[in-house]
Amino acid sequence: MTTPIVEAELPQWPPVHAARDPFAPLDEAERPHYDGPVRQVRLPNGTTAWLVSRHADVRQLLRHPAFSADFTRAGFPLLRPLPPAETRDTRGNFIQMDGAEHSRLRRMLTAEFMIKNVRRIEPLIQRTVDEALDDLAAAGPPADLVSTFALPLPSMVICHLLGVPYADHDFFQARSRTLLDRKTPTERLIREVAELRDYLRALIDTKRAHPDGADDLLGRLIRERIEPGELDVEELVGMALLLLVAGHETTANMIGLSVLLLTRDGRFTTLRDEPDQAPGVVEELLRYLSIVRTGLFRAATEDVEVGGQLIRAGEGAIVLISLANRDAAVFDDPERFDPYRQAHQQVAFGFGVHQCIGQPLARAELRIALVALARRFPQLRVTASPQELSTRQHSVVFGLDTLPVTW
């Protein structure tokens, strides 16, 4: 059932009808309302924003300095109400900062996540994967791949890197989920952000009170930035919050969807038999699955023409990387998953100065996890059809709630 769209009405964003196919970025019937040239859409709060979905337009907009990531700016597209100013604590949350303010904090982290440092921790990732696979073997068959493997693995890795005790995972996993759910009531959002900040602040305070020379990210930033006075504790709290949430939610959802996709049509064996192909497979999974499906949000601070459409200062824009990654002008036969495709132009990590800082870590985790899973459980299969699986329709990071598997 679809509701007829009245000619004069703008399409709504997010769409009213969710896609039934977890591999489709949008419901097929509704997709023409959003795909193609820049157009206006209506948001749940009645305001309008420009929707940008073509690969070239997406790249141009996200690279352009006149588009702000600050959600308090006039015209910024909001999918849920902005909490009152006095309840918002966004210190350190550099994904919503612009210019020098943003680069100051981001640059304290770039070396942490650079390729050679991620390569250095690959043995740790491998060990964590092997232990998680032991747990999976002990849990089944059958088992839920999401709760026994896809979620614990990136959560354990980011905890180890940051220096956050994994034993507290129930606490921060539940709250991370709330933060990313656009249906979360404002009061609950405010409360759970505060709880996460309190938790991280207490952890940082303890680390400062008992310096143990720990070789983790929080310990290093305390020694090198907080103690010399370059960084405020509340800023570090916000940075840690961002890394903790982003570090496990995204990779976890990519693993679940990737396994669902690869175990169909025997593609799973490609990873086992041709592990050299794994980096290319991961790139194509990133393109095809594009889990940040509600878009990236910006407000124009100057008049800018994007894809032939003038976007004026003070107007909002929503950038659909999921559709840019299916743009036939860039990817041949874009609706087909092709593990041998050279998908290096995919924009699943975003584009512009806010492009995912953890992308080398995400790529390494996905590659190591999927290859190890295919080697250890070559007979792995999903026991539900893709349409039967419950998905995270209201999360800004799409994924599967559960993935029942056997082997």
Binding site: L62, R63, A111, E112, F113, H344, F349, V353, I357
Partner: protein, 83 residues
């Protein structure tokens, strides 16, 4: 296909330059052309291993410039051939 992928470019050498102020440390360039680009141990920002490149590295440097999220890489033909 982008210009970067097109085979048979007639270039011999290319010049590459980077803007560290614009760099956001995403590391795409190091992934695409590790013989041309590196990341600074101190801050993760881009460093150049070479400025004048042979054709094969030049093609990879062009791809890196295309993929650079912040537009911090400039590549120019030494001969400035028409494209």
């Amino acid at each position: 296909m982008t210009a970067v992928d097109r085979p048979g470019r007639a270039e011999t050498t290319v010049q590459v330059a980077v803007d560290r102020d614009a760099c956001c440390g995403s590391g795409n360039c190091v992934r695409v052309a590790p013989e041309v680009f590196a990341q600074d141990d101190a801050d993760g920002l881009v460093l150049l291993r070479a400025t004048t490149l042979a054709p094969q590295s030049g093609a990879r440097a062009r791809r890196a410039a295309d993929l650079c999220p912040s537009g911090a890489i400039r590549v120019a033909s030494a001969e400035a051939l028409p494209r």
